[in-house]
Subunit: 211 residues, 2 copies
């Protein structure tokens, strides 16, 4: 099947042999590993019919495009834009899933400056709509992964906004989050952790208010 | 607040005065109007706390980036990639919403070549997960809008795959879809149409099997 752009131009897949993919454009090597682990996990979920969750494309503002004859359109000037939402979203058992994944090289705490305020606003809106919004945080040096639902994350965010500490400590993750042990397939079974979170009663959450 | 890319580089918003936004890169002027109408509608839904639905960024493969001193990273070589999912998704009343929006200049039928096979596969997976997947089709010359849920769309897709006609006729939209009348705010109240679809009983859908 010939695929065409809506403007009628033929879609030409990028030839790997002619275009060397460089990695220096990535937002962060720090973030790549976790992102790949999650992409793999999502492929596993999709292939087994467990969930349909994808990473969103990086938002890019395109300024200039060349359309050489008989080859793919080349974007010659473009800029990265700040994401206004989260990295991943999708559906699992009829439930809306929305999360942001971040890594830190710190062994003691996760710096909140890694999170944008509009992403937090977005997750709050999602939470209000009955969606499942959460963070997946990886402490790379410790090889430890935590999932923190938005409602618990909010306390730490508000603490920062009211002049408190600008990070979440590892000990706080151990209390407020669910730890995920990396496995083979899926690599990061975060939906299992989400299902545990969903089973946690309101009472337990109340009991953790002092966090 | 200073926003930084994960690599530590400062985020510099693109200056409108120095970068002239050109429109010739867009996939289609044909598609722009509907997309803008839907973005406006989604902003309305978001501002009123009705739903959190966004257009996904266009997937772009970045090949080369320059990092000039003291200014924003400039992407100097990149390519459009074929989207593997749909244009819009989000959450509404706890329900996962996923749709593709297309326009046609035809006054009589919508050509199915405007839809990619992997987008249809994606919607099928979403439907199986209990998500609400649908198409919004605009007949631009008629100024008529239809919403067609995935399960009804599937019949027309299968008809094409088994050698039948490669389009959906306007008359078929009138039967299988819900027509949306454009309004002021929101411009395209497609969630109202979705709620009507959800009220439609199984019986009615059965009654339309002959479509």
């Amino acid at each position: 099947m010939t695929i065409r752009y809506p403007n009628g131009k033929k879609y030409m897949p990028v030839q790997k042999s002619t275009v060397q993919r460089k990695t220096d454009f990535s937002f962060s090597n720090r973030g790549m590993a976790l992102e790949e682990e999650l992409n793999e996990s999502n492929e596993f979920y999709l292939s087994r019919g467990i969930a349909v969750i994808h990473k969103k494309p990086v938002p890019i503002q395109v300024v200039n495009v060349n359309y050489p004859a008989r080859s793919a359109a080349v974007i010659t000037e473009a800029y990265f834009r700040t994401p206004s939402t989260t990295d991943f979203n999708g559906v699992w058992n009829g439930k809306y899933i929305d999360f942001e994944a971040k890594e830190t090289k710190s062994s003691t705490s996760f710096p909140l400056q890694n999170i944008h305020a509009h992403q937090v606003d977005h997750m709050k809106s999602v939470w209000k709509q009955g969606g499942l919004a959460f963070f997946i945080i990886k402490f790379t040096l410790l090889d430890r992964y935590f999932i923190v639902p938005y409602d618990r994350f909010e306390r730490f965010w508000e603490r920062m906004e009211t002049g408190g500490r600008k990070s979440i400590t590892l000990a706080e993750f151990e209390k407020a989050g669910i730890e995920i042990s990396p496995g083979f397939n899926p690599r990061i079974d975060y939906l299992h952790a989400v299902s545990i979170l969903m089973m946690v009663s309101e009472e337990t959450i109340e009991g953790q208010e002092e966090l």
